[in-house]
Amino acid sequence: MYDYNEFDRAFLAERNAQFRAQVARRIDGSLTEDEFKPLRLMNGLYLQLHAYMLRVAIPYGTLNSAQMRQLALLAEKWDKGYGHFTTRQNIQYNWPKLSDVPDMLDALAEVGLHAIQTSGNTIRNVTADHFAGAAADELADPRPVAELIRQWSTDHPEFQFLPRKFKIAVTGSPNDRAVTRAHDIGLRMVERDGETGFEVIVGGGLGRTPMIGQVIRDFLPRADLLPYLEAIVSVYNLLGRRDNKYKARIKITVHENGIDTIRDLVEERFATLRTAFNGADQALLAQIEPQFAPPAFAARDTHPHDIAYQNDPVFRSWADTNLTAHRRADHAIVSISLKAHGATPGDATAGQMRLMADLAARYAYDELRISHEQNVILPHVARADLPALHAALKSAGLATANIGLISDIIACPGMDYCALATARSIPVAQEIATHFDALKLEHDIGPLKIKISGCINACGHHHVGHIGILGLDRAGVENYQITLGGDGTEDAVIGERAGPGFAAEDLLPAIERLIRTYLDLREGREETFLDAYRRLGLAPFKAALYPEARDRHAA
């Protein structure tokens, strides 16, 4: 965990004091809304459908128990007792009052958290693999460089007015759990001749023009990271379009100019910046790195786990879906599902947050992670402690055994909260989850990622869902388009649109027809929905979605 130093604390206190004064000037009428809006957005404060929304960054998804407790405090004291974890490793509070926000920011600063650059045309919260530092398949923990990027990008004077927002994700594993190919810049740690560096991917993004990022550098030595990132962002800052909001992201810049031109411009700028950086960044990184040293793992007998696994079917079911291999055989990575059937994906109550904080302190070396899939991770738990942990989670409705299954749905807030949304997402997720739970089909269906966005901006990542759902407004009625075959991993693919959209009441039956077609056509349980789709193509699934078209052809 990175601990704020005196400089960080002073910077944040100063920034919060500035914003407190700006809020006061808005309330007393000295600032108009047009003047105030860019200031509040730079501090993560949106105005949504029913209220303000405060978006707090959880840098690279890492929290300690004190921070999680503070998030619970904010939920209870200034909101309605809950918070919403998002696909960019942020937490959103849906009901703050404008006059309370300065106090909320001060409370966050007490535990080294902030809402800076969670909005606006700036470099946003840097995200990372939620299993960072724990995963068995990892080359190295990506979080020290993620923290370096956070410090570099926060209040970076050159990058406060970019053409559009800018998102960076980093992973240290060959199995990409951070969707790096759908970010403005994706960084994948790779090894070459015994040296670790980065594959640098640029120009990925979802939204109205989904694109898979392209490799701009196949191997960047670790020490060159910041000057190279600065080169990319400064080239984009000058070249990116400012005439049209919908063409302003770097994916369009790369698409319009070609990756080779962008690469040449970046390399040219990099040559200058590399000497200008003179090693200060590496000195800083050397200070950051020890703070992410792995905890002092205690060697533990796994016997209690083995007994529970053999004798308790509820524990076994949870262990089969919610545990991931840790780099130590006597430990496991625990995913806590925030997707109880029928619940709002990504929401946690203050009580649940406190319990997760307590459990992290007791069983997980004080560490928690937030995943882009809107779940909470305890990255290091001794297998011996898993039965007790599971029992504690169960008592708070946090032991749903559904990670990676049909009810583990990503859903954006949609038109229940978001001012940009064109349709609702949350009720769709709730219906799908409760329906397949009632059918008792979830575990039989196996790994399946459904992702739902309530508008074309694609916060719900629908383009990379195995089944993607996009909510639109068609002539004043909610309508849902289905895409199939998307994939957000290292083999990233944008899903294919299946055909015309469905009215809200027709959507669930359509999803069920899709699933039943998959169950009929799969070669066995080991063939996942995505595998079957790749083998069979769109045709049989399209026929299942649109039986009337098939019947017409037959007639």
């Binding site: 029913h50 209220a51 009901w95 229940d416 709730q430 407004d473 004043g476 909610e478």
Partner: protein
């Protein structure tokens, strides 16, 4: 010429962010039923200007289509219906306030 669709002036309250509507007496109400229904385009534009001048109280005033009815104006679009009620996943927002009022009235 197409008939003018009746409008209300709506905005969010500066401090709470609540959805509010302009009433005929120039006050702001949280209840759509008490909003002033405007049947004329020129008046609608003028009322919007009146609302925008109150920058110390409201944010983002605009005109929303409504369908006049016996129980007051009804939203013409589902987005305005959600703004009127609150979110569908929790009884928060206006529906929460209404529930409390109902309980108080009993």
């Amino acid at each position: 010429m197409p008939r003018f669709t009746p409008k209300v002036v709506t905005a969010n309250a500066l401090i709470e962010g609540d959805v509010i509507y302009l009433a005929a007496d120039d006050s702001w109400t949280r209840d759509l039923a008490r909003a002033e229904v405007i049947e004329d385009e020129a008046i609608a534009q003028m009322r919007l200007l009146d609302a925008q001048r109150q920058a110390g109280q409201v944010v983002g005033a605009y005109l929303a289509d409504v369908i006049p009815g016996a129980r007051g104006p009804q939203p013409a679009h589902f987005r305005e219906d959600f703004r009127r009620k609150g979110p569908s996943n929790y009884a928060h927002g206006k529906q929460e306030a209404r529930k409390q009022e109902d309980t108080a009235n009993v």
